[in-house]
């Protein structure tokens, strides 16, 4: 033991410099790549119900993951919440998450929406659907993502940039379905059909359709819901692809417990609570997403888009194949 004054000095310094978790009462610390407005209401509800405080820091996935890795066993974070299966897969791959053995989570979250090694669990589902102009496209013309490569869409397709992870995981899923050579042909077909250079956001894709620059595009449904709330007169409709085929490409936002969590038991309780019917309705409803827990009905606005068939493949595949997908899109000239 070092002499007491030295200890006191260090403690004082520690308080001045930061706020080490070890000095504080039991609470869960979360690093979150899901935005504050989409998680704080949940944490508030949890604290109200259980009395356990939740502290969180938001940032982009990449920096948060780098931070977890750099902090190692001295991290304060008990839980990592992030969007996109690719990021969850990468977090598990780098070893910052621990397996969680929880019958509750296994019961609440379908197997395709969680890590096969139980290191992360999907908490909300984001579906990537087709959007089209009701004036220039008949709904029955819309078949699948693959079909968007066919010459009938020449000069009529709008896509968001390939730099967005949603498109990276969509292409990763196509690789899982068809293998690389066939997928590269599909992506080249998309590029050949583009009406304009790829757009910067899902909203821009829909606005381009609305403005008549193109006829069909691919977006996440919650962007459609949000834009429709903003501009009720939007001349854009949503369609589910792959009704007869392999199903709609879905992605998740999800969470895992860190390897060096200081409060793993508390963190697990929070994670289980987040998968419970009560929290699930809130979680998905905050951003017009779909609940990951199949027992929970979707928000009325979301349900209005009709039922869809989700791709049954495990979302972890998207993470595993993301790198390949990015390189493939570069080769195909999809910017």
């Amino acid at each position: 033991m070092p002499p007491r004054p030295a200890r006191r000095l260090v403690l004082l310094l520690a308080v001045l410099l930061g706020f080490p978790a070890s000095l504080l009462a039991a609470e869960v610390v979360v690093y979150s790549a899901r935005n504050e407005q989409l998680i704080k209401p949940l944490f508030d509800a949890y604290t109200k119900e259980t009395g356990v405080a939740v502290r969180f820091a938001t940032d982009k996935e990449g920096p948060l993951l780098a931070r977890l890795q750099a902090e190692g066993e001295n991290t304060q974070a008990d839980m990592l919440i992030t969007v996109d299966a690719g990021n969850l897969w990468q977090a598990a791959e780098t070893g910052v998450l621990r397996p969680v053995d929880s019958p509750v989570l296994r019961a609440n979250i379908p197997a395709s929406l969680r890590d096969p090694g139980d290191r992360w669990f999907g908490l909300s589902v984001r579906a990537r659907a087709l959007v089209y102009s009701p004036e220039r496209v008949k709904p029955q013309e819309l078949v699948s993502y693959e079909d968007l490569a066919s010459p009938k869409w020449k000069g009529r397709l709008c896509l968001r940039t390939s730099k967005k992870v949603y498109n990276q995981s969509l292409v990763a899923m196509l690789i899982a379905r068809h293998g690389e050579p066939k997928t590269e042909e599909i992506v080249k077909g998309w590029v050949a059909n583009l009406a304009t250079e790829p757009q910067a956001s899902d909203n821009q894709v829909m606005e381009a359709i609305d403005a008549g620059k193109c006829d069909v595009g691919v977006v996440n449904t919650y962007y459609y819901g949000r834009l429709l709330e903003e501009k009720p007169g939007l001349k854009v409709r949503l369609a589910w692809p792959d009704k007869a085929g392999a199903g709609v490409h879905v992605n998740v936002s999800g969470a895992g417990i860190t390897r060096h969590a200081k409060q793993p038991a508390e963190a697990q309780k929070l994670l289980e609570w987040l998968s419970s019917p009560k929290a699930q309705g809130l979680f998905a409803g905050l951003n017009l997403e779909f609940p990951a827990n199949p027992a929970v009905p979707a928000d009325a606005k979301v349900a209005a888009w009709g039922p869809y068939k989700a791709d049954p493949a495990n979302v972890a595949d998207a993470g595993r194949l993301q790198k390949q997908a990015v390189m493939l899109m570069d080769r195909a000239g999809y910017r």
């Binding site: 930061g18 931070r67 750099a70 730099k163 250079e197 008549g212 949000r226």
Partner: protein, 554 residues
Amino acid sequence: MRRGTAIARTGTRRPPLAGRILRSAALGLGATVAIPLGVLFSVWATPQTEVWAHLAVTVLPTLARNTLALLAGVAAGTAILGCGLAWLTARCEFPGRRWLDVALMLPLALPAYVLAFVVQGALDASGPLQLALRQAFGPAAPSLEVRGTAWVVVILSLAFYPYVYLLARQAFLGLGRGTLEAARLLGLGPWGTFFRVALPAARPAIVAGLSLALMETLADFGAVSVLGYDTFTTAIYKAWFGLFNLAAAAQLASLLLLVVALALLAERRLRGRARFHETARGAPPPRLALAGALGWLVAGLASTVVAVAFALPVLQLLTWVLATASVELDSRYLDLLWHTLLLGGSAAFVTVSGALIVSLARRQFADLPTRAAVGLSALGYALPGSVLAVGVMMCFAAVDNGLNALWQSAGGQRLGPVLGGSIAALLLAYLVRFLAVAAGPTGSALERLRPSTIEAARSLGTRGGDLARRVYLPLLRPGLLTAALLVLIEVMKEMPATLLLRPFGWDTLAVRVFEFTSEGDWRRAALPAVTLVLAGLPPVAWLARRSALQAHGD
């Protein structure tokens, strides 16, 4: 000892104590910036050949072309706008000059990506302009797309010209009556005076402003993403977030850094032994009156720049605020504002002090270590923000891990993070990033200081703290104020380091903007963005006034 400065320069004797402290402080600052950069360079130990080979055959040629075109375009754009407008407001008289002088600095407070988003939203296919055109002319209406090199250059030039404007303006204001009268006596007209006297005399300031604008351009990710333009920096993020390869991203970033370092070195070489001393004494020289139509034309041009780069975007934000404020505005905004100003103000103080130390050391010592430290200290600004933030974070984490190991081996319990997530660490990160920003105006102000002024003060018996207080500070104040203003505004807008290193609960306005824009929710981001801009206005206006007054020693 009295002639310590001169002796230190020739290096024949040990410099006095004050000089040695100054030199060590400068070396320390150089190391502070160099360590996180070194962490990034260390990734070359594991070459990412697969990623490099892939990038080289697919996207690198386009990226290099895009990046070079962008740099050339923004250099020309910001130089013309910045120097031209600075000359007009500093040395000419025209209607509305007094308020335009301040208003032209305002675009500083508006992040480039906000400008990009608003301009694109206004002019794109779904914007009001094209909507009206289509209603009038049907589908045959002309359409334009706000993308491609020309548009990116225009938008970034409008966003970044204030760096050049601010520094050039300060230099032009400082031109002495004597210099300008000499130019006239030699037969130079207004144009000749501008090109052959004012521009060369303001070279250190203009170069400092241009290098800030270009480093900002190189590191920009927000605006180019909004405009769908691929640059070297977008490739860095692609390697990191898309290929999950932080090492490859850091390698790309370190190449970027190398290019910037070489460019800065080349400029120093080209400048050679030229010196730029100038003392403005007595009454300020008379302004060139632009009478009649010419005056109004100039006023119109300057107002247009302010309107496009500032007023219109802010108006657009305000219309969004009106739609969302009822949901968004709550008592937390006071906290956000307080955090923003407190961090900005403290960082401005710390960073400008650092810049002053570095600049003074550069003036007094010419040895290799000092020059290297000075050069290194300018590089933090050239990296994309997130990359630098991660480099700094890794250093703090390493220190924390070391401290924890040490403490535990001494029998203590785990300390957890000490530096990580502390205010001290955040300020240090700002220092690393913005030292270059503060060093520009500080250094160019120092270069214009005549050594004879200092010698005279010394010979009158002024030295030590007195010399600093009564001679250096008053003469340098306009430069230091400009530096403080720039750092304050930069820190207020800063996102990546704030996000990654802020203590729990220390959200700022920029963090709030991030929360919304990262999910594409621009309307809700308008309130924090407008608050950010409004918070930046008083310091901009105040400092503009003061620096204009004090350029002539009051």
